[in-house]
């Protein structure tokens, strides 16, 4: 037996088997994985006016009557006429009913439409109102916020001012004590004497000029105070003061000098 005879048939069968399998898998897989989406078509019902044909019922009867005598014929004709009339009436009634029904349906539809429109309008109005309210609320909130901010700012400012005041007061006290230390008491000085000095300073603490703005009434006391300031010449503590504070209070410093150790 040669090679080809042994193997041709098995090869054909095997390849065919695999092809069939591949096809089956492909088709089966696709069909299981792809359920065709079902489309539901809405059932449209059209209202139609149905005319009943009275003739259809009347005609066979007429044909029959051809062979029957006159009276019967007349009778039959009468009957026919009656039947026809009845049929007509029936048809008319049915038509009327149909018309009424249709009219009713139309009215219903209109009413629904109207209702829908009203509902829409209502919804719209409500939405507008809500929007307005919301805007109003937002505005009020904004105003309140602004007020709050302003109050906070004011408070802050006040706080700052207080702080600055306290600072400047402490500096003033320091300056006063320095002056007091460097002050030589004139013999004519008495308790309760006070002199107001205008001290002009630069940011380094250097005294530029000092003048008496309000005398104590005692020239010697005034002079001694002025002299003390001139002797100090420079308040080195002022160097590390913040510039704003200096500009506010210390460029032109009015200092009331009233020494406390006046024994007399």
């Amino acid at each position: 037996m040669n090679w080809r005879n042994l193997y041709t048939l098995p090869v054909i069968i095997s390849v065919g088997l695999h092809l069939v399998l591949v096809l089956a898998i492909t088709i089966g897989w696709e069909s299981t994985i792809d359920p065709t989406p079902r489309v539901f078509k809405p059932n449209v019902v059209q209202a139609k006016l149905v005319e009943l044909k009275a003739k259809d019922t009347a005609e066979p009867a007429q044909k029959k009557t051809n062979v029957i005598d006159l009276t019967k014929k007349r009778e039959l004709e009468q009957q026919q006429a009656a039947a026809a009339k009845k049929a007509k009436e029936e048809a008319a009634r049915k038509a009327r009913v149909e018309r009424e029904k249709k009219a009713k349906a139309e009215a219903e539809r209109k009413r629904k439409l109207e209702e829908q429109r009203q509902a829409e309008a209502e919804a719209k109005r409500r939405a507008e109102k809500a929007a307005q309210e919301k805007a109003e609320r937002e505005r009020q909130e904004r105003i309140a916020q602004e007020r709050l901010d302003e109050a906070m700012r004011k408070e802050e400012q006040q706080h700052q001012a207080e702080l600055a005041e306290a600072q400047s007061q402490s500096y003033v006290n320091m300056i006063a004590s320095r002056i007091e230390q460097n002050w030589s008491r004139p013999p004519s000085a008495r308790r309760g004497m006070q002199v107001e000095l205008l001290i002009q300073l630069v940011p380094t603490g250097q005294v530029v000029n000092v003048t008496v703005t309000k005398s104590s009434g005692n020239a010697a006391f005034d002079r001694s105070a002025e002299q003390a300031v001139r002797r100090i010449d420079r308040f080195s503590e002022l160097k590390n003061m913040s510039p704003e504070l200096f500009e506010q209070n210390f460029r032109q410093l009015r200092l009331v000098f009233n020494p406390k150790d006046l024994r007399l």
Binding site: L9, P10, S14, H18, T26
Partner: protein, 233 residues
């Protein structure tokens, strides 16, 4: 439509990485070849069995051995000599040849006959068991190959997942699904091969036993003939 397409089995195979595709192709080829082997083995063994039964019937019908030998010599083409007939022919040919040499001893004749039949038997066994090793290797190896493809595919799919912040099932599922196709194909190739291997090796063994039995019986007949001739001569 594109979504469905990407999830169909062809979409999965087409989207797989090159290595996984190669693994799939290899497994598909292995499946085809193993089915060729299965069908060919089935046909061959069935024919061998039919021939064996037919020949045994003819052999024990009391026909003259010389006539049987001539009959089988005349066969060609599709009905060419096969299976058990080969053993008979080998043994009988050797027997007549040795007998024609008058110098031959009866034991030597028997030994020659038996050796010739053993050789023919070995050939027949080889024929019966041809291709079975291939089926065995497909059966044992293709699940591993398929598993390798799957592991590789899942590895890749998870490596791609590492760059994603939010891992949903939808990001992992296609990769795993496409990787699992390889395992499915491996099992698809392996299962028929295992079944066929077990069945055909068992059948081959029974056929070999039949051949051996026949060879023994035939050698017994020849032995009787040799000794009866010896006694008569």
């Amino acid at each position: 439509m594109p979504n469905e397409h990407s999830l169909s089995i062809w979409g999965l195979i087409a989207n797989a990485s090159l290595l996984v595709q190669m693994v799939m192709a290899l497994l598909f080829l292995a499946s085809i070849v193993s089915w060729v082997m299965i069908i060919q083995r089935g046909m061959y063994q069935r024919r061998a069995r039919a021939k064996f039964l037919a020949f045994e019937k003819q052999f024990w019908s009391g026909i003259d051995l010389n006539q049987l030998y001539r009959q089988s010599n005349g066969r060609t083409g599709k009905n060419a000599v096969d299976g058990v007939e080969n053993i008979f022919r080998a043994g009988f040919k050797e027997f007549t040849r040795l007998r024609s040499q008058s110098s031959a001893d009866s034991d030597a004749v028997m030994e020659g006959c038996q050796r010739a039949m053993r050789v023919a038997l070995a050939r027949e066994e080889e024929k019966l068991e041809a291709n079975l090793p291939f089926l065995a290797s497909v059966a044992s190896v293709s699940p591993y190959v398929g598993l390798f493809g799957t592991v590789w595919g899942i590895m890749n799919s998870f490596r791609g997942l590492a760059n994603v912040h939010q891992a949903t099932l939808a990001t992992v599922a296609p990769g795993i699904s496409e990787a699992l196709v390889a395992t499915a194909m491996g099992l698809f190739a392996a299962i028929p091969a295992v079944l066929a291997y077990n069945r055909y090796s068992a059948r081959a063994e029974t056929m070999e036993n039949n051949y051996q039995t026949f060879a023994e019986e035939f050698s017994a007949i020849l032995h009787r003939q040799v000794h009866s001739k010896q006694v008569s001569s």
